[in-house]
């Protein structure tokens, strides 16, 4: 009896003291007005960290640059960011933290679709302008009042790939995808779009993103009459798929998604990557664009700055560039950081030239990119080659 009492008391004392420490430490971090707070939540660790890493670097670099030039509306920008490890559950928690503890003015972030989709409800409820850096079309369709995004959708990627297949007279395709959010969403879009392009999915295999080998699935595909293989995924898995395809001696054209549009993929897959086709943002083939392309100067400038500081660019960092500047332009036009006004201005973004394309948003289009913003790219001798 006495012992349980002591224990109970003890628990409470510890509870109270820890709670007090917590609240005190929180009290010291009161909203320091005078800055414009941009919140961000990115996959800085975990399997999707190759998305979050360049995104963060881009945000940090340009926030620094903007502040050096005097900030926005005479105020400095302040970047508050958290790591989600690519996990939806963590994303939900840190976005709550951004909104309720840090009291940010708007959010640019969400490296993966899963983490973005997880926070849409809370962003809508709390009425914070939010520009997502993730791919899934579900983020903006149906249109959510406060949610925008900058990367091309997985649906656009699928459409672009099927267009290319049609040009090459390929009608039977084997699909292989992972079990992540990006993969699954892309998979759904492929299945949905295929009939519209007269494409027949003859095999539909999947793998676990942590798997070490995909030869089993590819062996099954080899036994079908598919004329091309399409792999929707990111991270190390597409590189393994690419190597396994060559190992099994499969000569079919291999398509990847925009999820592999970074130098890392070529490095990992090595020679096996040659001949792989994928849709990608223009950034990776910036030099190959015709000089009259409006994007070219923006791309080259971003690329130069980023590479001078951090090394090879990937399209993912570019999405963060687009997100940040769409937000900054909107704040400038709104003349204040009033959330509703900023939101309205983001929606009015027209003719903004970013790394992903020329953005023309509207009340029913919170992305504002057309299919032409995607470039079809082939890997040739370990380098990107712009097809069209």
């Amino acid at each position: 009896m006495y012992r349980t009492m002591i224990k109970g008391l003890f628990a409470c004392m510890l509870g109270i003291s820890s709670a007090l420490v917590l609240t005190l430490s929180a009290a010291s971090a009161v909203h320091a007005s005078g800055t414009i707070k941009i919140g961000s939540f990115l996959a800085l660790t975990g399997p999707a960290s190759f998305l979050g890493d360049p995104e963060l670097k881009t945000l940090q670099m340009y926030v620094g640059e903007i502040n050096q030039k005097g900030g926005v509306l005479g105020k400095k920008l302040e970047l508050v960011y958290y790591d989600t490890s690519g996990k939806a559950k963590v994303a939900k928690d840190v976005v709550k933290r951004l909104i309720k503890k840090d009291r940010v003015d708007l959010i640019v972030g969400g490296s993966t679709s899963g983490t973005t989709l997880a926070v849409i409800d809370i962003v809508e409820r709390e009425k914070i302008p939010f520009i997502s850096l993730a791919g899934s079309i579900r983020i903006i369709k149906p249109v959510k009042k406060w949610v925008f995004k900058t990367p091309h959708t997985d649906r656009m990627a699928a459409a672009k790939i099927f267009e290319d297949m049609k040009k090459r007279n390929i009608s039977k395709v084997a699909l292989i995808t992972g079990n992540g959010g990006f993969d699954k969403s892309g998979h759904a879009q492929c299945l949905d779009l295929a009939p519209k392009y007269g494409i027949n999915i003859v095999a539909d295999e999947s793998y676990n993103n942590a798997d070490t080998d995909m030869t089993t699935q590819l062996t099954k595909i080899r036994a079908t009459d598919a004329k091309a293989i399409l792999n929707f995924g990111f991270g190390k898995a597409p590189a393994i798929v690419t190597k396994n395809v060559r190992q099994l001696g499969i000569k079919l054209p291999l398509y990847q998604s925009h999820g592999v549009a970074s130098k890392k993929f070529i490095e990992l897959a090595g020679d096996a990557a040659n001949g792989v086709r994928l849709p990608a943002a223009a950034l990776i083939v910036a030099e190959q664009l015709p000089d009259n392309d409006p994007q070219k100067p923006v791309l080259l400038s971003y690329k130069k700055k980023y590479e001078a500081k951090y090394g090879p660019v990937s399209t993912f960092g570019g999405h963060a560039y687009d997100g940040l500047f769409i937000a900054v332009e909107a704040i400038k036009r709104a003349g204040c950081v009033d959330k509703a006004k900023v939101r309205d201005e983001i929606e009015k973004t027209k003719g903004f030239v970013g790394t992903g394309g020329v953005f023309n948003m509207g009340p029913d289009d919170h992305l504002g990119l057309g299919l032409d913003a995607f470039k079809m790219v082939e890997i040739e001798n370990g380098a990107w080659k712009l097809l069209y």
């Binding site: 399997p47 190759f50 089993t216 099954k220 099994l248």
Partner: protein, 291 residues
């Protein structure tokens, strides 16, 4: 049908070999100290990542592999020395949490040292595809199978024939008795952890050219190794090897013949069914409470 099956077998055995080595590591530590070491998967990652980075730093290929194994063994022994030994009176669950803590710590350290990028290792010998009938494999597949077989054989020889190996076995039967007949129990524990870390490192280095590694690639391999050890019967090292190979084959054949999306589920369902029928694993000794 037949041609595909052969390919599934090759894939299954290759992947299963890695599971077998990790499972063997689990079994050795469990035998020596009754601890289920959930940091076993981290040994795999450390082995592979150190080899990759040492090699990239210009150290000759073979030497970098040897060094990587040595580094991992040192990490394993440090784990025993600084985490397991001070907590030798802790309950089984507490030691499990300690090893889980250790795995998080090692992952965190790997993140700081090697960053978050994905890395691959050059294959041991070339990348020319070898054709066996309708199936194909890489030289590295042969290396994986061969080195696993050699490692398993060496471990078996070590426990059956050498003085130290027998001493470790004695510790696993009865620590007090082993101590009383003059066996240095502490040293034996240290050796077990070192050996088990070595096996993890070997597994990692072997499959590094086939798959790729990141700082958190050890988690899934550790989980599979644990499953292998349980499937075979915890505490029976050769059972763990068999369990690993079976798990690899189950996954590969399950994916090939039933569904690739549910292949892991299929493997786990079969493990559960095995446990329901044989509650102490396939080759485990059944034990009952003595009263």
């Amino acid at each position: 049908m037949y041609e595909q099956l052969l390919q599934y077998l090759i894939t299954g055995i290759t992947v299963g070999s890695a599971y077998a080595l990790v499972g063997l590591g689990f079994a050795i530590i469990y035998n020596a100290s009754d601890v289920v070491n959930f940091a076993q998967g981290e040994f795999v990652m450390i082995g592979a990542m150190s080899a990759i980075f040492l090699n990239a730093a210009g150290i000759p290929y073979v030497l970098s592999i040897a060094l990587a194994v040595a580094i991992t063994a040192a990490v394993g022994m440090a784990l025993e020395k600084f985490a397991i030994e001070p907590a030798r009176n802790a309950s089984v669950v507490s030691t499990i949490i300690i090893t889980i803590g250790a795995s998080i710590l090692l992952r965190g350290a790997a993140l700081l040292i090697w960053g978050k990028d994905i890395y691959g290792l050059k294959p041991f010998t070339g990348e020319e595809t070898i054709h066996i009938g309708p199936a194909t494999l890489l030289p590295q597949n042969l290396w994986v199978m061969g080195c696993t077989a050699v490692s398993v054989f060496l471990v078996k020889y070590f426990f059956d024939r050498t003085r130290t190996g027998k001493a470790i076995l004695a510790c696993s039967y009865n620590k007090r008795a082993a101590y009383l007949v003059g066996i240095n129990v502490k040293k034996m524990l240290l050796i077990s952890y070192g050996l088990s870390a070595c096996l993890g490192a070997v597994a990692g280095i072997l499959i590094a050219p086939i798959t790729f590694f990141t700082y958190n690639a050890g988690v899934m391999l550790g989980l599979k190794g644990f499953s292998a050890a349980i499937l075979g019967g915890m505490g029976n090292p050769m059972g763990a090897v068999a369990g690993g190979l079976m798990l690899g084959l189950l996954e590969s054949i399950g994916a090939g013949l039933i569904s690739s999306g549910y292949k892991d589920a299929i493997a786990f369902i079969i493990i559960l069914l095995v446990l329901f029928l044989k509650p102490s694993g396939l080759f485990g000794k059944s034990s009952w409470e003595r009263v």
